[in-house]
């Protein structure tokens, strides 16, 4: 369905002369591979009409809550902040995110964890003051009215939709079992609450098609849309306001949806976008497992690891609520630092100790934007040296959605230095003399080499470990020289592929599925609309929330089994 057929003329996707040259340099046996392929010429991303608009919203399969979503949901449903999902097995990820429905499997092990968690959650919530679970007292002689009230209210919230009388009737069945065994009715109510939490209606985000075999798109019902919105922006269930909007059918117009999105972004729960979207898009999550070589880079320690993550999170947070254009993430003139991180970067300490302060970077252009963040610079380095290739590939994939293919066997690594004082650039030039490597590296290397002034843990440097002066000129195949990170930033920021790529990553996350070639048009439209209304992150999020891909769905024929 979304097979990535090899399309050699990928240069067509990029509009500027420099880029066409850049990408067409990578061909031969190993053409560059975009994450999303298209066999049709792509329109200008800023154009307002797309000639191939099919309006096909695509299909997303039954969507299991991932670990972050489970934890956030039980927090909002039960006031439980114990993070029960911490002990669940890791969710697999696909297309760069761990909320992709296709790869969120449900194994017997996970089911066992769900059952155990449900018991703990219910027992804890039953006695927690303010958990609002026991809205009435269960009368031992006549438990049904109160049980009905408790279970009806709970199931509505847990299943994110109105529940029918029959559904509540069925939930009451454990009461009879409990009575038979001589336990008080409360035990039966708790049992039913557990059943709600391991029901497929809770564990999966259920969306229905009136005609499951029809491929004609239809709009989501209001509760399904509310649920998509809340998991997109909050990684959690809808709140009461969103619920009521759905119940009163107030999610039907673009104005109503936009108002909800903007309201939700102002809520602290939108922090989920930082840890879940940005954490994966900007690779911040990989900091947890980063292991810089402690003999060469002993300055890297746990407080620094924590501070680097904090910096990127705080900056991204400001993009959610602030007035910045999303593309300014590349060269934002501010960041957040504490004293140790500022010292690490060689910047003046804000004087706040371990606490973070917003810092103006006007006077320090080399530190501007995410490309100057220790987090990104560390996770795209090898433990013992920088990796211009990893950095270059990050820029290509995460900012321009034009990742190169992986290297051929036998040549995946950089050869050792011929002489001890060779610069990284010289070693890579040597690597590029291998004909099978040359094509793609002419594309990846300049972007990464322009960042050579950052060492493997993000410090600014003028000399490499060997003592050789850093050469941070990235030479593009057309002769353009990217002289250091500032020039490279400008180059990427001017690339017309940037807005569509930002939209593509956000949409993949929003929909929880990979995008097919046919959807490039929809992506371009989302980007164009977002740029037209201001280009802020919030504009992108609104634009996605209003798109047909987000508000509609369709059934599908039996997918072909490969």
């Amino acid at each position: 369905m979304t097979s990535r057929s090899k399309t050699p003329d990928i240069g067509r996707r990029l509009a500027t002369a420099g880029c066409v040259l850049l990408l067409s340099a990578c061909k031969g046996d190993a053409p560059p591979q975009a994450r999303v392929r298209t066999d049709v010429p792509e329109p200008e991303p800023t154009s307002t009409s797309c000639w191939n608009t099919s309006g096909d919203p695509g299909t997303v399969v039954l969507h299991r809550l991932n670990r972050a979503e489970y934890d956030a949901t039980v927090r909002d449903l039960l006031g439980d902040t114990s993070h029960p999902a911490r002990d669940f097995p890791t969710d697999d990820h696909g297309y760069g995110f761990d909320n992709i429905a296709d790869v969120l499997s449900l194994s017997p092990l996970l089911m066992e964890k769900y059952a155990a968690a449900a018991e703990k959650l219910v027992e804890a919530a039953w006695v927690r003051p303010g958990a609002a679970l026991r809205t009435c007292a269960v009368d031992a002689a006549n438990p049904e009215p109160c049980a009905r009230e408790i279970l009806g209210r709970f199931a509505r919230r847990a299943w994110r939709r109105p529940v029918t009388t029959e559904e509540v009737d069925r939930l009451l069945r454990p009461l009879a079992v409990v009575k038979q065994l001589g336990d008080p009715p409360e035990v039966g109510v708790k049992l039913a609450l557990r059943a709600v939490l391991i029901s497929p209606h809770f564990l999966f985000r259920v969306e229905k098609d009136a005609q499951p075999a029809s491929t004609t798109p239809h709009r989501l019902d209001p509760h399904e849309l509310a649920t998509r919105l809340s998991y997109f922006l909050w990684s959690s269930m809808p709140d009461e306001a969103l619920f009521q909007a759905a119940e009163r059918d107030k999610l039907g117009t673009p104005q109503e949806v936009e108002a909800q999105v903007r309201r939700m972004l102002a809520d602290p729960k939108a922090q989920a976008l930082v840890s879940n979207f940005a954490g994966q898009w900007l690779f911040t999550r990989a900091l947890d497992t980063a292991e810089p070589d402690h003999t060469l880079y002993g300055a890297f320690n746990e407080p620094l690891r924590h501070a680097m993550r904090q910096e990127t999170e705080l900056v991204f947070q400001e993009f959610i609520t602030g007035d910045h254009k999303l593309r300014d993430l590349l060269d934002a003139s501010f960041t957040y630092l504490n004293d140790p991180l500022a010292a690490h970067y060689g910047l003046p300490r804000p004087g706040s100790g371990d606490a973070f302060q917003r810092v103006d970077l006007t006077a320090y252009p080399e530190r501007r934007g995410v490309l100057g963040h220790g987090s990104l610079l560390t996770v795209t380095s090898n433990p013992d040296r920088t990796s211009p290739v990893q950095r270059g590939v990050w820029v290509l994939e995460q900012l321009l959605c034009s990742g190169p293919p992986p290297p051929p066997p036998n040549v995946e690594n950089l050869p050792p230095a011929v002489s001890p004082d060779m610069t990284m650039k010289e070693r890579m030039a040597l690597h590029r003399t291998q004909p099978q490597c040359k094509g793609c590296h002419m594309l990846m290397d300049p972007l990464g080499l322009a960042m050579e002034n950052y060492d493997p843990i993000g410090r600014w440097r003028l000399r490499e470990v060997s003592g050789a002066p850093v050469d941070s000129n990235g030479d593009l195949p057309d002769g353009t020289v990217l002289a250091g990170v500032e020039a490279m930033r400008r180059f990427v920021k001017d690339d017309p592929k940037l807005p569509t790529c930002l939209a593509e990553h956000l949409m993949t996350y929003a929909l929880g599925r990979g995008l097919s070639e046919e959807e490039q048009c929809a992506v371009s439209e989302v980007a164009a609309a977002a740029e037209a209304s201001g280009g802020r992150l919030s504009d992108y999020l609104v634009s996605i929330a209003l798109s047909d891909s987000f508000t509609s769905r369709r059934g599908g024929k039996e997918a072909q089994t490969p």
Partner: protein, 448 residues
Amino acid sequence: MKFKHPISRRTLLRGAGALMALPLLERMLPAAVRAAEAAPSARRLAVFYAPNGIHMQKFLPTVTGPNWELTPTLQSLAPVKQDVLVISGLANEPGRPDGDGHHAAGTAAFLSCTKAYKTEGTNFHAGISMDQVLANHLSQQRATRFASLELGNDAGRGIGNCDSGYACPYANNISWAGPTSPMAKETKPRAVFDRLFSGPPGGLSQAEAARRRAYGQSLIDSVRDDATRLQHQLGAADRRKLDEYFTSVRDLEKQVEALGDAGPACGLQTAPTDDEDPRARTKAMMDLIVLAFQCDLSRVATFMLANARANKVYNFLGLSGGHHAYSHHQFVQSNYDALAIIDRWEVEQYAYLVRRLKDTREGTGAPLLDNALVLFSSEVADGNAHHHKNLPVLLSGRCGGAVAPGRHLSVPGMPIANLYVSMLRALGVPGVNSFGTDSTGELPGLGG
């Protein structure tokens, strides 16, 4: 047949005669007796996966037959040399990817011998793994509380692509219940322990067990009812997703049914801690496999030392580069040296497991290892060339005499699927004549 209530020994002996079928007997025996008596015939399987291939020059003995030599990488096997069968020449052709993605495709095929469909997510598709074939068989017999254990050290980096356009489930799982059902693994020793030894230490009283079974069953009936009603309203793709739910609920039900019988028969155990140090973590995982076997809580365990293509830095071995980076050695001696150090450490961990299984006794006094099979391999042979043939394979244990270890067996070009056919037969799974997509029969010479 289901027996929801324990039967007293007297009841059975009084009336039984011809009714004394084995399952009945097993069900009524107290846990301790059961484990001890079940053990002699019980076959067990453990699989140890090491990522990124092996530097074969330092791994493979040159001498075949019983006089094989302990190569530098295999030194730690000295105490169990007579229990180890080195098998060279095996190939896993289905592990070869379309284009690149050797690590993920090789890992998906590692125990399934099935070619993974290339996708970053949508329609991912591999095949059932051999450990799950055994687990299914044992599950039908209701042999143990847990049909299988899936363990690993690596929770993943959680970002980017897992391997060249191959979805992460391929790279992160060697155990597959079916083509679209990877068996997620536990990466925290403490959670594994808590799962194995949940419930009150003294076991449940009969009345309490009956109560919990009744309540558990009521829960299961309720959610299965939800799922059945939902199923009728869903399209084909969603129904497939829901099938996973039904399977998982069925497994949960089996555990509920088993509540109160077959508690761990090996006394109080000490829980491990969740140490981040891979040495401590690996040892804890090996100990848990031994414990699960010893207590007959499970007879099937798979372990991934790290996920496919892991770039783990082995600081404690004096290495500063990542494992995957070294594995692309480019014929450079310093990379060979680093790989040999890592490989040696990996085999040491495997040797520890084998040794412990040899030192741990069944009820009869025989080593657990004598009735077990313990496999070691990697998703490729040479990590630079990504070879899917001449794989590094170690097989320890005798499986009740079906395997004659203490030798180096050379079977050039033989599909590893043939080994799995022979292993499954030796492990007691009936009717296995083929496995995966490229088996051609049994692997000759396993029994000596």
